[in-house]
């Protein structure tokens, strides 16, 4: 992974996928992000980030032609890869380390 640092938005998306479970797609991710962060997420931004994550090997996707009950509604279904899980936990570890001992200061400056 080395050089490829996880962007903030990508980080949020990976976490959303984990929360939603495998075989999810753009729409639930957008709604999850909005529900958890309280900010509107552009579907195109999520879509593009997913493609980028796929390129980095952190998620895998496949085209699901008939996921809906009627008609051939196309959706790109994504799952997190083992590499994705690794990256997330690495990044979490790093963050937890960084956060260590900072919380009190944060409270103090409030």
């Amino acid at each position: 992974m080395g050089r490829d640092v996880l962007g903030g938005f990508e980080h949020q998306i990976l976490l959303s996928i984990l929360r939603l479970g495998d075989d999810t797609y753009t729409v639930p991710i957008v709604l999850e992000l909005e529900a958890q962060t309280g900010r509107e997420a552009a579907p195109a931004a999520v879509y593009i980030a997913l493609r980028r994550l796929e390129k980095k090997g952190l998620v895998s996707s496949r085209l699901d032609e008939a996921a809906g009950t009627r008609g051939a509604r196309k959706r790109r279904v994504v799952s997190i890869t083992p590499a994705g899980v690794d990256t997330l936990s690495e990044s979490r570890k790093a963050l937890v380390t960084l956060w260590d001992g900072v919380e009190e200061r944060l409270d103090a400056t409030k």
Partner: protein
């Protein structure tokens, strides 16, 4: 949440077209799903807004994402494109991105091209907005294709005219080919409200009018058959939506309130729907009144009066003042209606020979009539001339674009050569240039539409020179926007792409070797750019000649001898019938008023007339001259007539040529007397008119003796030839209506106020009192010429500006290219004067060729203006001379500036460069 709920179709369509195919379906489905979610949560409006935002945002994000991890497009474009990819969305995106980058590197070029297109397209689309409102927009009614126009045609006047209310009733009662008939007429009324008075514009309508057109009220009710039965008995009014909104702040409690119109109270019964603004295409009607009320308020438009029984206008069969429309009954056509009406009119002729002799019906499909069959004949050519004129401005603007694109293309020839050398396909290059042109055209179209909205705002504020506040109905609708973009695209393609292509036809080796300089040849030949300047000069001359002709025409029309002096002449239209005066009482009132006003300081004369010259009212009267009329059936000679007081001629300044004017000896009991204009005398009485007698009405009608001949005045229009005009004695024809003409020493507000005071002192109840001055009325008559002159001057100035820019550009460009050659010449001993002359000769040569072509074009086209030229020939040498002189001066300057630079060239510098 049903899957069947779909996002706004139009937006989805746009998105479908612009998204890269690879991601399209998935993204569209995602967006649709989220749209449904938002629809359920936030409501339709917010969901649609969200969707619209993402229709814009999604493609932009997709482009941005691609850009960040793809090789440079410039390099990629240099490679031949694999065939299968050629028309894929992806490569089009590449083209667009590349075009944006290329254009971004030439901001001045983009600015000038877009600005030029904006001006050219904006002006054209604005004129088109007017033409569209006037000629193309359908009537705002249900099924306009089923409507027919019914005119009463008078053989003597040879004109399709209006119909009387009793005739309308007869027709609507007996027709079976029409499912409904309605009459309508324009009106102007004076509305008084808490002491303030304003003129309002509206329509009289018969009871079936709104039903016939399928109009439903916005509020309250509309005028129905029960509002249109008793003459003078239905004081109700329906307000126009815009008038209600602007004048009464959309007051919902207005229903049942009372408006005072011409001194009489009218109850507001309803508000018309917003989309219905009356039957005059360009002007919003402010209110509608029942046709039976058309006595206390005057209708306007084509009115003809034949003596007929009845106290009020709606009761008189001879008072023709209503336009008529009908709706075809099931399965009927115009021919059947015409046949049926022919029979009805024949019955009316037999039953009412006095009023209906000479009148027959004319039925036309409503869709074939825009304003009136007679006016339509002028509207189309006038519209064509206006569009043609601004079209010339656009062409002129576009030649500058072409010239600029041409210079850019030659400057880019090196870049293009490099790309060709690296193997870029010619088709690909063309597509690239096409994309650039389209982009520029799109921006120009956008700017043009913006400019159209702005110019329309100016037009809406514009008020013609009469005192009725007009509210114009000039929507910038889909047709106008399509016109603007179509024009921008056509202009951008023809004038942007063609030169770009020509520039791209590059000799690779030469272009690379010479640093992109000499693809234009030595610059000494005429070349394409020279031809463009010639075209521009020609267009400019045509516009300047047109402007000069109209200016001369407007001036000579203002100086034209009207036969009376319009300066410092006030007119008051007074109808004492509003106040229930009898004709005799009215006559007394007018006599008293004339005497009192004549005694005022500053007033030099007072006269009375039933009709003033150049007023829109037409008063025809048949006269029967012994010896001229052969049989009983002869319809007589229709002449324009007015009833005047003896002081009228002196007041207006119409000289008496022979005989006498009306005097105290001419009373109601004495022999009827008349005065005639010189034209009438010449036409009917070559051996002298004074003392001759004729009959009015019919061959056995009252006998009238001619007592005097006066000089001709203009009767209907400023431009007309002397027209026969008959003056009857006002003491012998009592009427409650008259125009009081007051001649002043000097027209000041004080004098106007004192005249007004005298009138109000005589009758304090008199409300409908408007003073107008004859110069103002003249302004109305001359308005088309003045408006046309102003438009052409504007167009001419823009064209002149464009010519100077174009000429300057071409000459400066050729000087820059020839700087080496000029350097050599100077080094070999050419004086700077020689160089100046050499450069000037080239530029002025172009101007001369253009001027000759333009002069010929102007001579051909100025004929189109003859109908509005007063006292000026279409080939007026002064107008042509002025146009050439102005062009010569301006183009001389535009030429001299770069020539001087060439003459001051330092040969050493010039030879050293490059």
């Amino acid at each position: 949440m049903s899957d069947r709920v779909v996002p706004p179709r139009f937006l989805a369509g746009v998105l479908r077209r612009v998204l890269p195919r690879h991601d399209r379906d998935v993204l569209l489905a995602d967006l649709a799903e989220l749209y449904r979610f938002r629809l359920a949560r936030d409501g339709k409006l917010r969901a649609a807004a969200w969707y619209a935002r993402h229709v814009l945002g999604t493609p932009l994000r997709m482009i941005a994402a691609r850009r960040s991890h793809r090789p440079s497009v410039a390099i990629k474009n240099a490679h031949p494109t694999p065939r299968r990819e050629k028309f894929a969305m992806e490569s089009i995106w590449q083209d667009i991105r590349f075009a944006i980058r290329t254009l971004a590197r030439a901001p001045m070029y983009v600015a000038v091209v877009v600005l030029t297109l904006t001006i050219g397209v904006g002006i054209n689309a604005t004129i088109f907005t007017m033409v569209n409102a006037l000629l193309f927009r359908p009537l705002p009614v249900v099924a306009p294709e089923e409507l027919v126009e019914i005119y009463s045609y008078n053989a003597e006047l040879d004109a399709p005219l209006t119909t009387s209310h009793p005739d309308y009733v007869s027709i609507s009662e007996s027709t079976t080919t029409l499912s409904g008939v309605a009459g309508h007429s324009l009106l102007v009324a004076r509305m008084t409200n808490d002491g303030d008075a304003e003129l309002v514009f509206g329509e009289f309508v018969t009871g079936g009018f709104f039903d016939l057109l399928g109009i439903k009220p916005h509020m309250g009710r509309l005028i129905g058959p029960d509002d249109d039965r008793v003459p003078g008995g239905h004081p109700v009014v329906v307000l126009g939506h815009g008038f209600w909104r602007d004048r009464f702040a959309a007051d919902e409690t207005i229903l049942g309130q009372v408006l005072t119109l011409n001194g009489r109270p009218y109850t507001v019964i309803g508000i018309a729907p917003e989309e219905f603004n009356g039957l005059v295409h360009v002007i919003d009607a402010q209110m509608w009144l029942p046709a039976t009320m058309a006595d206390t308020i005057d209708p306007i438009g084509a009115i003809s009066m034949t003596e007929s029984p009845g106290d009020t206008r709606p009761e008189q069969r001879g008072a023709r003042w209503m336009m008529m429309k009908g709706r075809l009954a099931e399965g009927m056509g115009v021919a059947q209606v015409q046949a049926e009406l022919d029979a009805i009119y024949a019955r009316l002729r037999a039953a009412y020979p006095d009023s209906n002799e000479d009148w027959s019906p004319r039925v036309l499909p409503a869709t074939s009539v825009r304003v009136h069959p007679m006016a339509d004949g002028y509207l189309a050519p006038v519209s064509a001339v206006m569009l043609g004129m601004v079209g010339l401005v656009l062409i002129s603007a576009c030649t500058n674009i072409a010239a600029m694109t041409l210079s850019r293309a030659s400057a880019r020839s090196k870049e293009i050569a490099v790309r060709l050398a690296l193997g870029a396909g010619k088709a690909r290059l063309m597509r690239q240039l096409l994309t650039e042109s389209l982009g520029l055209a799109f921006m120009g179209g956008l700017g043009g539409v913006g400019l159209t909205f702005w110019l329309r705002g100016l037009l809406l504020r514009f008020q013609p020179p009469n005192s009725i506040p007009m509210s114009w109905n000039l929507p910038v609708d889909g047709r106008v926007i399509a016109f603007a973009f179509g024009l921008a695209l056509a202009a951008g393609l023809v004038f942007g792409l063609a030169p770009a292509l020509r520039g791209s036809r590059t000799d690779l080796v030469a272009a690379l070797k010479d640093g992109g300089r000499s693809t234009e040849g030595s610059g000494r030949k005429l070349g394409l750019r020279g031809a463009l300047v010639v075209a521009q000069v020609a267009v400019c001359i045509i516009l300047l000649v047109g402007a000069a002709l109209l200016v001369r025409s407007a001036r000579s029309a203002a100086d034209m001898d009207l036969g009376f002096d319009p300066a410092a002449l006030l007119t008051y239209n007074i109808d004492m019938g509003f106040l229930d005066y009898s004709p005799e009482e009215s006559q007394q009132f007018f006599d008293d008023a004339s005497a009192r006003i004549a005694a005022l300081p500053g007033v030099t004369g007072v006269g009375l007339a039933s009709r003033m010259p150049l007023s829109m009212q037409l008063n025809g009267t048949p006269i029967y001259i012994e010896g001229l009329q052969l049989t009983e059936d002869d319809p007589g000679s229709q002449v324009d007539a007015t009833t005047v007081s003896g002081t009228y001629f002196e007041t207006l300044g119409v000289p008496l040529l022979r005989g006498r004017t009306f005097g105290p000896q001419d009373t109601a009991d004495s022999l009827a007397v008349a005065m005639v204009s010189q034209a009438l005398a010449r036409q009917y009485y070559p051996d002298g008119a004074v003392g001759q007698r004729f009959h009015t009405g019919d061959l056995n009608g009252p006998e009238v003796e001619i007592v005097g001949v006066v000089a001709d005045t203009k009767v209907r229009t400023v431009g007309e030839d002397p027209r026969p005009y008959l003056y009857l004695a006002d003491e012998q024809a009592t009427t409650s209506r008259a125009t009081l003409a007051v001649r002043l020493d000097r027209d000041t507000p004080e004098v106007r106020a004192s005249v007004r005071r005298q009138l109000l002192a005589l009758e304090p109840e008199m409300r409908s009192l408007t003073d107008a001055d004859m110069l103002g009325l003249l302004g109305v008559a001359l308005f088309p010429v003045r408006f046309g002159a102003a438009m052409l001057i504007g167009a001419g100035v823009i064209a002149l500006l464009l010519v100077s820019i174009g000429l300057y550009g071409v000459i400066a460009y050729s000087v820059a290219r020839r700087s080496k050659e000029i350097g050599v010449r100077m080094a070999l001993g050419a004086a700077s004067g020689d160089v100046l002359q050499m450069v000037l000769r080239r530029g002025l040569g172009l101007v001369a060729i253009g001027a000759v072509i333009g002069g010929l074009g102007a001579a051909l086209l100025s004929r189109a203006l003859t109908s509005v030229l007063y006292g000026v020939g279409a080939l007026d040498p002064l107008a042509f001379g002025a146009a050439f002189l102005i062009l010569l001066l301006v183009s001389g300057l535009a030429n001299w500036l770069p020539a001087r630079r060439a003459a001051r060239l330092d040969p050493v510098q010039a030879l050293r460069a490059d």
